[in-house]
Each structure stands twice: as structure tokens, then as C-alpha cells.
């Protein structure tokens, strides 16, 4: 059983290695380019972009403030619920007659 598992594992490893070597060999050898790609030359001023590519800020600002309010209110609601539950248990225990 162990021998079979090891054999299958070896086969998988061998196949992976050959496909990796094959892929590396298939890569076209390109001459090293001296100049970096144009995109890294500098930043593009946001005013030069077409209106389609300009991201509106209002939804992001509203989203951020809405998230903060929701997070705080959910925490307060959970805290309130836990406080009420513990208080209820405490009241029930106070009224429990000693056995």
C-alpha cells in the first residue's frame, strides 16, 4: 500500500517537474529592455482622466460614515441584550427559594 502511494507521489512530482521545465523552455527569450514601462514613469494627474475613470468620492465618504454608525450601533445593541439577559438571570436567581 505504502509502496503504491510512494510510486504515485513520485509520478506526480516527476510530471510537475517536467511540465515546469517544459514551460520554462517554451518561454520566448526576449532581449532585456533598457527603459522601464511607460506606466512607471510618473503619476497621471487626475484632471487628465476621462470622466468615466474618475471615481466619485461621495459614496466612499457616505459608506465610511455609515459603516462607523452601523458598527457602533450593532455593538451597543449586542451589549444591551447581554446586559438584559444577565440581569434577567440575576433576578430569577434572587427569587429562587433555597433548596
Amino acid at each position: 500500500m505504502l509502496k503504491r502511494v510512494l510510486r504515485v507521489l513520485g509520478l506526480v512530482l516527476a510530471l510537475t517537474a517536467t511540465s515546469g521545465i517544459g514551460a520554462a523552455a517554451a518561454q520566448p527569450s526576449s532581449p532585456p529592455s533598457a527603459a522601464p514601462p511607460a506606466a512607471t514613469d510618473g503619476f497621471v494627474p487626475v484632471t487628465d482622466l476621462p470622466p468615466v475613470e474618475q471615481l466619485p468620492a461621495a459614496p466612499l465618504v457616505l459608506g465610511a460614515y455609515a459603516f462607523i454608525w452601523v458598527a457602533v450601533l450593532v455593538y451597543v445593541a449586542l451589549l444591551w441584550r447581554r446586559l438584559a439577559a444577565v440581569q434577567k438571570d440575576l433576578d430569577a436567581l434572587t427569587h429562587t427559594p433555597p433548596r
Binding site: 471615481l55 468620492a57 466612499l60 462607523i68 457602533v72 455593538y75 451589549l79 444577565v86 436567581l93 433548596r99
Partner: protein, 223 residues
Amino acid sequence: MLQRSVPLLLVTTIAAFSVAPFLIHNAPYESTMGLVQKIFYFHAPAGIVMFLSAFVCGISSAIFLFRGRQGADRVAVAAAELTVLLGTIVLATGPLWARKAWGVWWQWDARLTSSLLLWMMFTACLLVRRYGGPGSDKLAAAVAIFGMFNVPFVYVSVNVWRTLHPKTTVVPMLGPGMREPFWFCILAFLSLYVLLLALRVRLAEQQATLDARYLELDDRASA
């Protein structure tokens, strides 16, 4: 003392968070980022109060660990929860700002990554306490102390490493008109923090009283 100030804190917090949107609305636009920079007025105060909360949690945990004071443990668990809450706010609002300002939601730079690690440490602290079994409170306290020591690294990360995030000099150099709403929001978040801390500590105290009553009843039943 903390519990008695709850009504006053509640009124202060509601008043502060009612006024804050007007102050933020009237604050001038930042010259390069425009409207999206207004996220700063809640993002940065939440981050600063998160650091404070991590210190409260770490110091309380150290007192609990070395002196064995149960009161300190209750403050520690409350502060750990609030650190996670504030961290969630910081980590959610930051990417919304970054998407517009940097063009990406997230960047694995020093400030963002260390903030995420800080959040994960305090989340781990809560998870250990919740699911760790007997003795996990002490283990969680140790994790919280490590979390506290992570805070200075998060703070200085923007000055030490190259990062997209603004440096710590941004706050002292805020222009007139931006400074006042920012400090007002800091006070609002501080008020909210102390209020939630007081309520969470009260919950921990009531849970401890409940546990003590159950033990008392068990003792009576077995006697």
C-alpha cells in the same frame, strides 16, 4: 466612579456625535484629495482611541496577571472588545479612503499590515478567552500585553518605513478649519470609548456576580 458617570457620558456622547457632522461638513476641502479626505475626521480619531484602548487593555492585563486583581481583568476584557471594534472601524474606513486617494483598496505596507496585525492580536485575545477553556484568561492577558507592545511600532511605522500612508506629522500640521473638527472628533470618540468601557465593565461585573450566585446555590444544594 466609572459607573456613576454613565448618564453624563451618554448625554455628552450623543451631543458630540450630533454636532460632529456639522463641523466636518463645514471643514475646508483638502487641496489634493478633496471630499474623500473627510473620512479622516472619524478614521484618525478611531485609530488614536484604538491605540489608547490597546494600552488600557495591556496595562489592565498586566495588573491582572501579576497582581491577580479580578477588577483589572474585567477592564481588560472590555478594552479588548473595544480595541477590536475600533480596529474594525479603522480597517474598514481606511480602504474606502485609499480607493480614491491611492487608487487601491489595500496596500501591504508597514502601517496597514501592522494595524491589521494589532487587530488580529486583540481578536486572538478575545477568541482565547472565549474558547480557551480553564486558565485562558491568563493566556489572553499575555496576548494583550504583546498587543500593547505592538502599538508603538504601528505608530512609528509611517516614519520609519516607506509607506503610502501619511506620516504622523499630518495631525500637528493640520490647517486652520481642519484642526478644530479633528480635535472635536477625538473628544467625541473618547467620550464614546469611556461610555462603552463603563457599560462593558458593568456587564463583566454582573456576569461575575451571576457566577458567584450559581456557585453559592450549588454549595447549598450539595451541603
